[in-house]
């Protein structure tokens, strides 16, 4: 009996634990402090338990918490037990209240939990201080005992419902009844007209640990529905029929009735996982709200504007703007109409742009922005229309009117924009110029496009340049040309270097040139010049086979040098004879006939042939 009574009473006692303790201290009071450990790692917690035993009413307001040094209080909870006894026909009871403080170290080292003070009936009791050693994080985290708070809250409750269960060690295993947890749906306002927002708020009330699994709304075909965000809803406490419940909004919808009359709304069904104890598996409960019947009033027919649409119910403002008031002919402008306010923004019918003879009007596009925060649906609807002026001069966009029904005032209202004046210039960059009526392309009068092109070279742009076969050779051309020139320069410089090889090559070329010239002179019968050229050819020709120059040396010296270079004695003698013969011919040209010159030339050629195919040091007969 006592256990059952305790189950019923304790939660209420704990939930009202914040109320001041009433009554005075009576009997003996014992007050003590204890910790579950005196050495704690940085990643662990230590639980300080202050125990008050006696027959007095004790609450948290009677306790002055101790100083905790470098320990930080991260959680508190309270537990209480009461025992009854009858002795000598007198009923006695003893109450033991435990105040738990979960402390988390902030730095290593020794620290001290100071003395806590219990104040009751003008007296006070002090607990003893406790020293705690805080060490670095250890590997014993998994094996370490959890704090009372952690033990009490199973992980499946670690969601936004945690705040409901911060004192639930009073929830031992027991049967959960319909009074322990239920849901309610509220609809505001009670009376609405067609198109007016009704806010349906679904709220859960619970005295046990619970987590919402799913919410199923009935068919809402008679309503335009807009979901509202309740993620920021907080848990509150509420007393119903003398019982304290934790309550929270779990869903909210804005309902806009699409017709008037009696509208049925079925039950909202909610599945909830509940638990009374972390040591028992969760229990799924199926909760329902009661069905509702709503009376929706029709919109008043009196004073209804002609342009009113039943979707336009709420409170609105309207604004119109254009992106430019000075434009060129055929230049498009954007007319933007914005309606803001509260109501079914998505459904409202903004005024349409009337037919304007001086404009070409393109299809409008609309953009809706609605905030999902708060109970009321707020937002804006923006309609953009592209207009293209077809004539120049001063044009006016007419005022637009928007009528709506304001439920808060119970009357219709009409909003109106200001007319917008546009200055349209006659010429337009990029067009043929002037008015389209005098333009070459008369068909553009009815349109807004840039005209087609009549003049075109109509050149065939074949494949792109990079895709043509000559492109990469073209890319390679500049560096190739550069390399060729550099290479040519290098070769040329090499050829011009003063080396024996170059000198011999130059001498050989020179000798051939002299020989050709001598042949021409022989044919012309110019003996003196012929022999001079022939001698030069003979000297240069043999010089080309020597390492040292012969030019300028006396004949004997030159012959000796040739012998030293390894030319055969017989060949050197033949060369010397021919050179002497040339000297003779040069100085007595009159004695030389054409036939002799030809013979000299033939002998010289024979000598050249001999030295062409022989190397110095080889015996060759001339």
């Amino acid at each position: 009996m006592s256990g059952r009574l305790e189950h019923l009473l304790l939660p209420l006692l704990l939930l009202v634990g914040g109320t001041p303790a009433s009554g005075s201290a009576s009997g003996q009071i014992r007050f003590s402090a204890a910790v579950d450990r005196t050495e704690v790692a940085l990643d662990e917690t230590v639980t300080l338990t202050l125990t008050v035993t006696g027959d007095a009413q004790i609450s948290a307001s009677n306790i002055v918490p101790p100083g905790t040094g470098t320990l930080e209080i991260v959680g508190t909870s309270t537990s209480e037990s009461t025992s009854f006894s009858f002795s000598g026909g007198t009923q006695q009871f003893t109450r033991m209240v435990n105040f738990h403080y979960v402390l988390k170290p902030t730095r290593t080292g020794k620290t001290r939990i100071g003395a806590a003070v219990l104040k009751l009936g003008g007296k006070s009791w002090r607990s003893r201080p406790i020293d705690i050693l805080v060490v670095k994080s250890s590997g014993r985290r998994r094996g370490a005992p959890q704090s009372p708070l952690q033990r009490r809250f199973p992980s499946w409750l670690d969601d936004d419902w945690n705040d409901l269960f911060h004192s639930p060690d009073m929830f031992p295993r027991r049967r959960i009844g319909p009074d322990d947890i239920f849901v309610r749906l509220t609809l505001k306002p009670d009376l609405a007209v067609e198109g007016q927002q009704l806010t349906a708020t679904l709220r859960i009330y619970s005295r046990v640990g619970a987590r919402v699994v799913s919410i199923r709304w009935p068919g809402l075909n008679d309503f335009f529905v807009v979901d509202r965000d309740v993620s920021k809803a907080v848990t509150e406490q509420q007393q119903i029929n003398g019982r304290l419940y934790h309550t929270k909004v779990i869903d909210r919808r804005a309902l806009f009735p699409l017709r008037s009359g009696e509208l049925e709304m079925g039950a909202v069904e909610v599945d909830v996982d509940t638990s009374t104890s972390p040591f028992y598996p969760a229990q799924t409960m199926h909760l329902r709200t009661r069905p509702r019947r709503l009376t929706i009033m029709p919109l008043p027919g009196q004073d209804r504007p002609r342009d009113f649409h039943p979707a336009n119910v709420g409170q609105f403002s309207m604004a119109a703007a254009v992106d430019a008031t000075r434009v060129a002919l055929n230049q498009p402008i954007t007319f933007t109409l914005t309606i803001r306010g509260t109501g079914a923004i998505q459904r409202i019918r903004p005024p349409a742009m009337p037919r304007l003879g001086k404009f070409r009007i393109f299809d409008s596009t609309s953009k809706v922005e609605v905030s999902n925060r708060g109970a009321l649906v707020r937002g804006s609807k923006q309609v953009e229309t592209i207009l293209v002026p077809l004539t120049s001069g001063q044009l006016t966009l007419p005022a637009l009117t928007f009528s709506y029904y304001d439920p808060s005032q119970g009357s219709y209202r009409t909003l109106s924009t200001e007319p917008i004046t546009l200055q349209v210039a006659a010429s337009q960059e990029g067009t043929d110029g002037g008015s389209p009526l005098v333009s070459h392309e008369v068909n553009l009068v009815a349109g807004s496009f840039k005209p087609i092109r009549f003049e075109s070279e109509l050149s065939v742009r074949g494949m792109a340049l990079v895709d043509r076969p000559f492109f990469w050779p073209l890319v390679a051309l500049p560096p190739g040309l550069y390399l060729l020139v550099v290479l040519g320069l290098a070769l040329r410089a090499r050829g011009q270097a003063d080396t024996t090889r170059n000198r011999m090559r130059q001498a050989w070329l020179l000798s051939r040139r002299h020989l050709r010239k001598a042949a021409r002179l022989a044919a012309a019968g110019q003996a003196a010049d012929f022999y001079a050229e022939l001698k030069a050819a003979l000297v240069r020709g043999f010089e080309a086979r020597c390492s040292q120059p012969l030019h300028g040396l006396p004949l004997n010296e030159a012959a000796r040098q040739l012998e030293e270079e390894g030319f055969a004695e017989q060949l050197v003698e033949a060369w010397r004879t021919e050179v002497e013969n040339c000297d003779f011919g040069r100085f007595s040209p009159a004695s030389s006939r054409g036939e002799q010159m030809q013979q000299s030339l033939a002998r010289a050629r024979k000598l050249f042939k001999t030295i062409e195919r022989t190397r110095p040091g080889t015996e060759v007969r001339p």
């Binding site: 050149s459 074949g462 040309l481």
Partner: protein
């Protein structure tokens, strides 16, 4: 040296001559004139027929594409109009009239997913920047600067006076910087030309599917005029990416490649 410079000049002229756009024959030109006249008469279908003959004959010309796009729009073929405006802009980036008309056409499209200037989702912004230049223009600019830099280098090599050599060296420093910049732009544009391809939906309504199969799940319906990026061909289907990053498969026949 002069001979080398002359030779280089001749080669450049030859290349320019090779790259010079050919003009169409007079018979083909008549189709262009006839198309224009039909357009003026309001016979847009006949205008399209004439312009298409030129296109089918291999004429790739921005004026032709532009006129054809106008004619398609008059016929209500917005997808094809967008396609040919895009082709116009591909050949002549920055063509103001084509940009203007394309903007107007896009305002009347159902799908408002316009490929932003900086490229679609996941595409780096430099794509949009580089696309403002035509590939041929960038190619010529790069080639000219590049050739000029080599010519200056060659001139410096051949020059015997130290002062002239120094002057040519300092002349070539900014020139080589320009060559580097032009080369980067050219390389980027070449990359887009070779690797990044776009197309336009030319059928009124087509289904973007999860796979290259007509029975594959439909991800979303897209409408004519929508520009998409081509990712890969897959047996009659093309994997595409919309400008909002959504990828899927469209039938090849529903698309017109830009």
């Amino acid at each position: 040296m002069k001979r080398s410079l002359l030779l280089a000049l001749q080669v450049a002229c030859l290349a320019a001559g090779l790259a010079r756009a050919d003009t169409v024959s007079s018979s083909l030109r008549q189709h262009f004139t006839a198309g224009n006249q039909a357009y003026l008469d309001g016979d847009y279908q006949r205008a399209v027929d004439n312009y298409r003959r030129l296109v089918d004959a291999g004429v790739r010309n921005p004026d032709l594409y532009y006129n054809l796009a106008n004619a398609y729009f008059r016929l209500g073929r917005k997808g094809l109009a967008v396609l040919f405006y895009e082709r116009t802009l591909k050949l002549a980036p920055g063509d103001q009239a084509a940009e203007f008309n394309l903007r107007l056409v896009r305002k009347s499209l159902i799908d408002k997913l316009v490929m932003p200037a900086g490229g679609a989702v996941g595409e780096p912004p430099w794509h949009g920047f580089v696309r403002r230049f035509s590939l041929d223009t960038l190619t010529w600019v790069f080639l000219l600067l590049y050739s000029l830099a080599f010519l200056v280098a060659l001139w410096r090599r051949l020059s015997k006076r130290e002062s002239a050599r120094r002057l040519l060296f300092w002349l070539n420093v900014p020139l080589l910087t320009l060559v580097l910049l032009a080369g980067l732009l050219f390389a980027g544009r070449l990359y887009l030309h070779r690797k990044v391809h776009h197309a336009v939906v030319i059928q009124p309504v087509v289904q973007l599917r999860e796979g290259p199969d007509r029975h594959a799940k439909v991800l979303v319906e897209v409408h004519e005029g929508l520009k998409v990026r081509l990712l890969a061909d897959s047996g009659g289907f093309v994997r595409v990416r919309l400008s909002n990053g959504v990828e899927g498969y469209l039938e090849e026949g529903d698309l017109g490649r830009i």
